[in-house]
Amino acid sequence: MTGPDDEDFKLNLFALPSQTTLLFALIITMVLGTVILGGLERAPVLIWPLAVGLVLLPLRAFLARPEYNCSQFHLTPAGPDLARLQQAIAAESARINLPRCPGLLVSTLPVPLHTFGSFRRWYIAAGYEDACQLQNALLDPLKAGDARAILLHELHHFKNGDHWKLGYTRELLQTTFALTGWAIVFNMGLGLLLLVAAQAFQQFDPVRMVNGVTTLGPEAQQMLLQVLPSEAAMAEVRVKAAEIDLLRVLNFGFAAILPIIVVVVLLRVFYWSKLWRTRELYADAGMVHTLGTSAALYQALVFHRASQQKPEPEKPQNQPSRDWLAQVRGALAGLGQIFRFPWPVYGAFAEGMSSLPVERNELQAYASKPGASPVGHKLSLSGIGNSILSLLSRGWRAFIGLIKVHPDSRSRLFSIEDPSLIFGSWLSTAILLSSLVLLLDVLISSPLTLLYIGQWPMHFTTLIVLVTTALGYLLPCVAQGKPVGKDLLRIVSVVAGLRLVWLLPVLAGLVLMLILVPEILSQTLDEAVSAIARYAGYSDGPAFSNLSEFVFETSYVNLAQILIIFAILIASLLVTARLLERLFTWYSFPRSQQRLMNVAYLVTGGTLFVNGTVVLPLATTALLRPEELFTPALLLQALFGGLITATGLVLFLRLDRKYAGRCPNCNALVSEGHHLGKRCQNCGLFFFPWLIAEYES
């Protein structure tokens, strides 16, 4: 980001909301939130044990992870022969004020350098040879700086809390997948058993059965009859059992659990990978901040590549190049690794190294190649096939880019030169949000959340999109002084537009079936309502009285929701943007480094609050239940929400009048809006210097 003085100011990532924390919170909220909500509400199958299990079991697994890793990778504490390395770890830990020093573990296996740990037990692990190499580098004056840089990168994972955020997320995704998979297998088996046993159960007569055992004496028969249920008790149980539709119960169980499995798999493939890539970029930033120069990252990458390099086997002559096939195989192997248990170790400097230039004068050319990836390949086919293959290969590379757990060297170097890249463009934010909304829609299709979604269908997606956009895109842009109006409009248009893209065919299909095969449509919809709502006890009667009315009302309600959400998001985000832009002119706000971001979070929270208590309830009620629009409960809630929001706004305006637009040093009026590196034109004081990263390019 360049200011009016053409100085090159870099954004200080650590002054803004951590994207790692944001992604972590999103994943946890989506998985746990759904199940906890379902556990609170009534259901024909017990959901609350699943909810309790999903909260506690991942925590247990997270605490047990160090032992698991040690066993899996044959890790043992480093001996006195690696004392120098351990001393260096202790020294660098103290340098960045870590509350505890990680222990060093080594293995005879070729384990890449990585970190792991629980809340109180932190470890840096490596293969023995790599550890020795690192120690030797520390003793070499030419390489000691690079070795320390690598150590700092690893230690910053602990400083950023990556060990517990990613540790718990991994266990949550793994446990959810295992638990829900087991639940499906078990419930299916139990359900089928009950189905085949149902008829026998209806005819079960304990007296006849005991009397049939002729080898028992009368006393033994009497004792058995006392243990078994009486005829009256059996009659009562038969009546209750007759009311249960086992198929519907099985259906409910599947409908409740399957969406969770689908969402967990998608979170694991895409969001988990993004979380890992983001954490690496933050660790790089931490290392560079500590060392004060971005060259440290480049040198560390080169050092690591050199230390890992093995001589390449000679290619036999006259063999056609199969680079592209090898790349595809490698990508497939990487994809397969995602679902391996135990999950593989992700090393700090493990990937994207092959094309990193060794000489620094090649760096500029490397960095400026548009669109090329370190894992790119050349195709030798010609003609139309070339274009199609080129398109497919770009799509494939883009897909691999989404699921890779390590950013390539180019991304890492770029992110250090321009840290704002970590927050992504409006398009990447829009894609992230659209996929989030789609995942939420899948989760919402589960009967677990039916009570809440049925009553408040717009709340969840709207609020999650709001908080993600505000903290993940809006706040970083405003902190840099970038205009956001058009981008916000684009983001919300993409989110709403994509939702419309998948909704319109569904609604068109409904209307078509209504015209062509209304009986089949009626039966299908009735079964769908039974599967989702009726067996949870939410609906007893027929799903609808008039099919046409139902279809048109459903279409109108869903389309209206998209328009309403679009309007609410645009309005809320623009208002939030305006307030945040105003906030970043509070130059004389005392202790702004500690407190300005808190005010930004309060502003975001206020937007969520007013939408959650006033705007969304009123809009939802007006759309779905207009007759309840003027009920006292709703009006009181809106009034309460409105009062709190108004109070907050008044406070904001008072503080704004006090602190905005004035230099804290000379009290001069400051014109124009905020931008990174803005100075007072009167006395030259830098405003918000803590927003600027202090390291050399």
């Binding site: 605490l63 047990a64 109180r120 037990r121 085949v196 026998a200 079960f204 055992v213 080898t215």
Partner: protein, 205 residues
Amino acid sequence: MNRANIAVWLARLAWGVIVFDLILIFILPETFGPDAVVILVAISLWLVLSLWLATTGLMVYYRRIFYTWAGWALPVTGLIASNTLMAAGWPEANSRLSLLVTLTFATCTWGVGVATALLLWRRDAGLGMLGWMLAAFTWVAFFAWRIHGNLIEISFLSINNPNATWPLWWINPLFCLLGWSVPLGIASFCIHTVKIIAREYNAGH
């Protein structure tokens, strides 16, 4: 005498007991008179209890084998094999071999418990074992009911003919596994949880 030596001698003693019991089985008379009921009961008790104790001792001595799933599968395989032989009434004419098969079944029933305890002491797999055993049981029960009909009625009516083979004899190993998995799985889960929390707590002090 240190602990290692004591363990070696106890292992040798266990092997000795097993050899003694095998010899005893083959020197026992074919039939016993009506007055020898007490002797019969005493011998039976001795055989079962001594084999259980000896098996336990040897499994603990060679516990490293049973820390793995393959090792755990050894007594399970023995259980399934002996159960199959018993159900088939093999061998028909030789009562001593028949007694050996029965004792093998009884020993393996106990051995499965010891192996499970050793495995779950070493590995934090109690919850998984419990869960998947229960899931396997529901599916086995479903297929059994589908093939044979009302399992409860079949079990009750089989009391009328105690000499005949129970039609659901093949479920015995599963009952045994489930019977051991439930208490040991729960105990293992609790013990490992306490260990995990204690390790984490002590790491900060």
